[in-house]
Amino acid sequence: MSTTEASPAETGRETFVLNLGPQHPATHGVLRVKMTMDGEYVVRAEPVCGYIHRMQEKMGENRTYAQFLPNTSRIDYLSALTYTHAFVGAVERAAKLQVPPRGEYIRVITSELNRISSHLVWWGAFLLDLGGFTPLLYAFDDREKILDLLEGITGSRLTYSYFRIGGLYNDVDEAFIKGTREFVAQMRPRLKMYRSLVTENIILRKRLIGIGPVSAEMCRKYGATGPVIRGSGVGYDVRKIEPYSAYAEFDFVAPTFAEGDSMARYLVRMEEMAQSLRIIEQGLDKLPAGPVMAEKVPRVLKLPAGDYCYAVEAARGRFAVRIVSDGKEIPYRVKLRSPSLSNLSLFEEASRGMLLPDALALMGSLDLVIPDIDR
């Protein structure tokens, strides 16, 4: 924090403040980073958040559980389904609702599709940070296929609101299943292509290997999760550690790389896409028949007083919802624990002393979604 900041008087060097954002190409949204620079070296980088704060938690206290549901798609708009999953999971846990297996399987399949689409956006945007424009459009081409699939079943391309308390908005159709199988078949060679085009590229490797090291200990202290901590050698994945929904029935690995540098985080996400494809394939193979909605979901839902947590592995890490209920129709308190906030909070410490382009590469490798931080 401020104590470690080297003052110009100590070093005999003059610093200046460089404002990155709130409107800056590297911040992907309205994040502002107040950078104290010594030439191109970052002396201190202080993220300033809140530019698109919407007080989602207060909105949660003003509407019924079902009415809050659309909001959950709008926190991290890139992995909307996983966020909805956490919220409906918490409510179902409190209301003791049992989602039918088909519903859970479809939740897993769509969440994983969503994870791939989120990682694709990250991949493209990250490469954009690093000055490569073309991968972004290749990624969007593939993501478009996912959005088409999800739009086909949910009716929306980004803010899906597909999960319902007790199940799903509606069942998937044959077109979705067929389309998803086709997508999985198409995506595998694309991932290979991405690897030869970008991952193995010497320029990219030189820019990422050894840059922005984040230790496992730092992740723990800051509560960083998701690909950030898995890139630091800790295999923490909510899907594995606290299996929710139907994840326990799937065979996949949570890819872990020990280096802790930007390349490790990059590789984690690339490998995760391949793993998500595996999960989707298994899900489609094993998709049980039956209803997608739990029976006897009360029209007016009142949760018993108490507090209930539910955590999921969103594309950016652990997303947890804590609902405090006082037995009424509307929640007393909804706490949203966003992964991006914790992941970004280590940026100040991790970026100290880095060169500006490397610091931006580090920031890109954290995969920030600003609405998720600001909520």
């Binding site: 079902a66 009415q67 549901l69 088409d148 929306s156 908005y169």
Partner: protein, 195 residues
């Protein structure tokens, strides 16, 4: 030294591979759709803004102003009013306003509706010059549609008659060129008693 040379070789090779991939893509057809010259099909479950459904038997709105949608709406953007007409068993809708400026297209209203009296429209080219244009009088719109469709008489011979005004949500969309979007009806700013 050996490692350095190896790195130079693999590095150079990776660059050549990259360029081979992009030139491969160069000669493939483009994947984009040239909107607005061409449009993509709208999926059957597309969630647009809502609209009232015409009852083909009566030529009137199916909605009987039960206000379930109004209550389900998380953003308070629906205003429904109804009155009991003489001799009718149920109420019928007399006013249905959607404040689209607040609507988040979540679809809770359609889900709440028990009788399929509202559905998602297939309008997506929504643009306007003022906020008031987006306070939609859906009831007036439905009346206008019914008028345009020639105010169908309560046709006894029409069990299989296709819906005249708008395609049913499950049908594929009309070809883009064939159906220029009708001018949205002029609407007065609604007196929505929003908080």
């Amino acid at each position: 030294m050996k490692n350095g040379l190896k790195e130079i070789f693999t590095g150079f090779n990776s660059l050549v591979t990259g360029m081979r991939i992009t030139i491969g893509q160069f000669f493939k057809p483009s994947v984009t759709t040239q909107y607005p010259h061409e449009t993509l099909p709208i999926p059957a479950r597309f969630r647009g803004h809502i609209e009232l459904v015409l009852d083909p038997e009566t030529g009137k709105a199916k909605c009987y102003a039960c206000k379930l949608c109004e209550r389900a709406c998380p953003s308070d953007c629906i205003l429904v009013d109804g009155a009991k007409l003489e001799g009718a068993k149920k109420k019928s809708v007399t006013e249905y306003r959607l404040d689209f400026t607040k609507c988040s297209l979540c679809g809770s209203c359609v889900e709440a509706c028990r009788d399929g009296a509202i559905r998602f429209s297939r309008d997506y080219n929504l643009a306007g010059f003022s906020k008031e244009e987006f306070i939609m009088d859906l009831f007036a719109k439905l009346e206008a549609e019914a008028q345009a469709a020639g105010a169908p008489p309560a046709a006894p011979d029409a069990p299989g008659k296709p819906e005249p005004a708008a395609p049913a949500p499950t049908q594929p969309p009309p070809p883009a060129a064939a159906a220029p979007k009708p001018e949205p009806p002029k609407m007065e700013p609604a007196k929505v008693d929003a908080p």
